[in-house]
């Protein structure tokens, strides 16, 4: 029966590839035929699962690349196949028809809402939780719900790698033995006060009494301590000792220097987590550094192209992913050159329909006040909501141009050769790319 299911799954995957279809269906079929199919496969001992709100795909790719460069055979899933069905497809793809997986290590990305379903059948040796942030709340509810779901999905004997700077990610390791913490030391970007629209670190996630901070990196991420219980930011085994965000260089543990592929703090955490894993697994550090230094983000979050004669840098973020959006705004303000910013909201999500626009009030659009931003073009069906939102940011009214129609948006961009930074989501970006 097992062999039969594996053959069906592999056949479906093959046919699917011919039609360029997704990778969850083969796994879904396999699970329908036998919901315990995964536990009947002969899995390698080393199974690493990466989950969290942001950075799963990048961190998974970094770790896979590290292992591959060291000569290991790696089984991994690509973006979009991180729910239990997608993971099942990946495992069966990697196995022979007898169900033996001929890989040395599995590096799997798991959607945070599906971790507990996946770990019912696979017992990972290591789980990395990148962070737990406000992300797609129209689907996820809020971060404490995601915390509860992830917590449910962590098996007792898994080693955890957690982000010490993020209270909710950190809380998963509270009073637990097999945990490694990573974090960023205080640096020139850190602030004494929370400079954000909301502060999810105001109250301790463990006991809901006040928390205080020595410094913040951004939002609620930083060095915190509860004023009542003993919950606090733990000591880190792997830390960023030096950081130059403009040139994109970091130093880990006072020793290892790395050039990261994109100058934003979320990239720093991804690299740090991958390094920590590699070091804990006692891999060849010289080779690890070489992989990390030569890595270029594959998932196309950041792209460069032209609209007419205008150079455009596309910074993609799911619309409802607050921290990523804020990080992109900060990235723009750090640039010295004058530029225009194009914000396109035509659809809110590519995965589900909604008209819910509350997330724009959580985003720190105050950053648009930056001197180097000369014009702000707001475009798409929901440009009016953006217009209302931006009307509460002082001193930028004269910079704003609104184009609800997308062709008008392109015309507006073409009026000038001045560099444009385009902020939009994964589905809306095609509407620009297709109109070049």
């Amino acid at each position: 029966m097992k062999i039969f299911i594996i053959i069906i799954c592999k056949a479906t995957l093959f046919i699917g590839k011919l039609f360029k279809r997704g990778s969850s269906l083969p796994g879904a079929i396999a699970l329908k035929l036998d919901k315990n199919i995964i536990s009947k496969l002969d899995l390698p001992k080393k199974i690493i699962i990466v989950t969290g709100s942001n950075g799963k795909t990048s961190t998974t790719e970094l770790i896979s690349s590290i292992y591959k460069d060291q000569g290991f055979k790696v089984g991994t899933n690509s973006e979009g196949s991180n729910q239990t069905e997608g993971v099942t497809t990946t495992l069966i793809k990697c196995s022979n028809i007898f169900g033996k997986i001929k890989k040395d290590v599995l590096v799997l990305e798991s959607d945070e809402r599906y971790l507990r379903r996946t770990t019912k059948y696979i017992k990972p040796s290591t789980i990395i939780v990148t962070n737990i942030y406000r992300d797609q709340m129209t689907r996820n509810g809020h971060p404490e719900i995601i915390f509860d779901i992830i917590k449910d999905g962590i098996n007792d004997d898994a080693d955890l790698i957690l982000n010490a700077d993020d209270p909710l990610s950190s809380l998963l390791g509270y009073k637990r033995k097999n945990v490694t913490y990573v974090g960023i030391n205080e640096n020139e970007l850190s602030t004494k006060k929370c400079e954000n629209i909301y502060n999810d670190g105001e109250y301790c996630p463990n006991c809901k009494e006040k928390m205080i901070y020595d410094y913040y990196h951004f939002d609620q991420v930083g060095k915190y301590k509860c004023t009542s219980c003993d919950f606090k930011r733990e000591e880190t085994s792997y830390f960023i000792s030096a950081l130059d965000i403009t040139s994109g260089t970091i130093e880990i543990n006072n020793k290892y220097k790395i050039n990261i592929s994109f100058g934003s703090l979320y990239s720093v955490y991804n690299t740090l987590e991958a390094f920590a894993l590699a070091s804990l697994e006692k891999l060849d550090i010289e080779k690890v550094l070489s992989t990390l230094n030569n890595y270029h983000m594959k998932n196309g979050r950041v792209q460069q192209f032209n609209i007419g004669n205008t150079p455009v840098t596309l910074l993609t973020s799911k619309h409802e992913n607050i921290i990523c959006y804020n990080e992109h705004l900060k990235y723009i303000t750090r640039k010295k050159e004058n530029c225009r910013v194009l914000i396109l909201v035509d659809a809110i999500s590519r995965k589900y329909f909604t008209s819910e626009m509350s997330w724009i009030w959580d985003i720190d659009f105050e950053l648009l006040k930056s001197d180097n931003i000369k014009k702000i073009i707001i475009a798409g069906k929901y440009a009016n909501d953006l217009d209302i939102r931006l009307s509460f940011v002082d001193n930028i009214k004269e910079k704003i141009i609104k184009t609800i129609d997308l062709d008008d948006m392109i015309d507006e961009v073409k009026k000038d050769n001045e560099k444009v930074y385009l902020l939009t989501c994964f589905s809306d970006r095609m509407k620009v790319l297709n109109r070049r």
Binding site: M137, T138, R139, N140, G141, H142, P143, E144, I145, I197, Y198, N199, E202, Y203, P205, K208, K210, F353, T354, S355, E356, M357, S358, W359, I360, W361, D362, K381, Y382, N384, D385, D387, I388, S391, F392
Partner: protein, 235 residues
């Protein structure tokens, strides 16, 4: 003319950008020549309800809500008196759940008779509601894990939603307005915003006249969303 707003637990109950309800309210009160003072009070801070014309609180996580409930227990009688004496209250998102008789096993403030049960799944849906208070429909989004029962004083009736359990929604009792609609609900519903401003100001200043200026953008936005959701409903 002046309106004093007491914004409760802004640092604890801060989901879904609901602070924008007060931002928008302040802007449009100012447009109608009303000055606005906003005081923020939170955990362990003294709350003198009677000094204010409006009390506001917004959405939070379930654990934060319980913390707020425990903090408010000592002020229960004062809050009840304020509401019974026609004081204005606007509670958005899950904040109003503390006013009922219970949230699961936990006792509520018992100011209103409804009960709250938390369920395992998350209810998330766009909605169209209607109300007796204004002609225009209400648009918005619900994001919670709560089922409300024994609610005698609902505010809205459901016209469209993907969640079958929602037939009536929210609370309207004297000058208490409460709804699970999340986000800047007043901004998304300019006709309700006008109604609310009129109710709030006329109570204090009987010859108050709303100045109908600068609502165009809110109205346009509202029409777009209403159209999108109506199309969805028809599918």
């Amino acid at each position: 003319m002046k309106i004093k707003i007491l914004y409760l637990y802004k640092d604890l109950m801060n989901l879904y950008g609901e602070y924008a309800n007060i931002t928008i309210l302040k802007k449009y009160l100012n447009i109608s020549n009303v000055d606005v003072q906003i005081d923020y009070k939170s955990i362990n801070e003294e709350k003198n309800f009677n000094e204010y014309d409006l009390i506001y609180a917004g959405s939070s996580t379930e654990r934060s809500l319980i913390r707020a409930l425990e903090d408010l227990r000592k002020d229960k009688e004062a809050l009840k008196d304020y509401i019974e004496n026609d004081g204005f209250v606007l509670f958005t998102g899950n904040s109003y759940e503390i006013l009922g008789s219970s949230i699961d096993q936990l006792e509520g403030l018992n100011i209103l008779p409804f009960t709250v049960k938390t369920i395992d799944r998350r209810i998330t849906t766009d909605v169209i509601f209607k109300t007796d208070l204004i002609e225009e429909e209400i648009v918005g989004f619900i994001n919670n894990s709560s089922i409300i029962t024994n609610n005698d004083y609902y505010l809205f009736k459901s016209v469209f939603s993907l969640e079958e359990t929602i037939k009536t929604e929210g609370v309207h009792y004297k000058n208490l307005y409460a709804t699970h609609l999340t986000g800047p609900f007043l901004m998304r519903n300019p006709y309700f915003l006008k109604y609310f401003i009129n109710q709030l100001c006329i109570k204090k200043y009987s010859d108050f006249k709303l100045i109908d200026k600068d609502y165009e953008l809110l109205n346009e936005s509202y029409e777009i969303v209403l159209e999108e959701l109506t199309l969805r409903n028809e599918k």
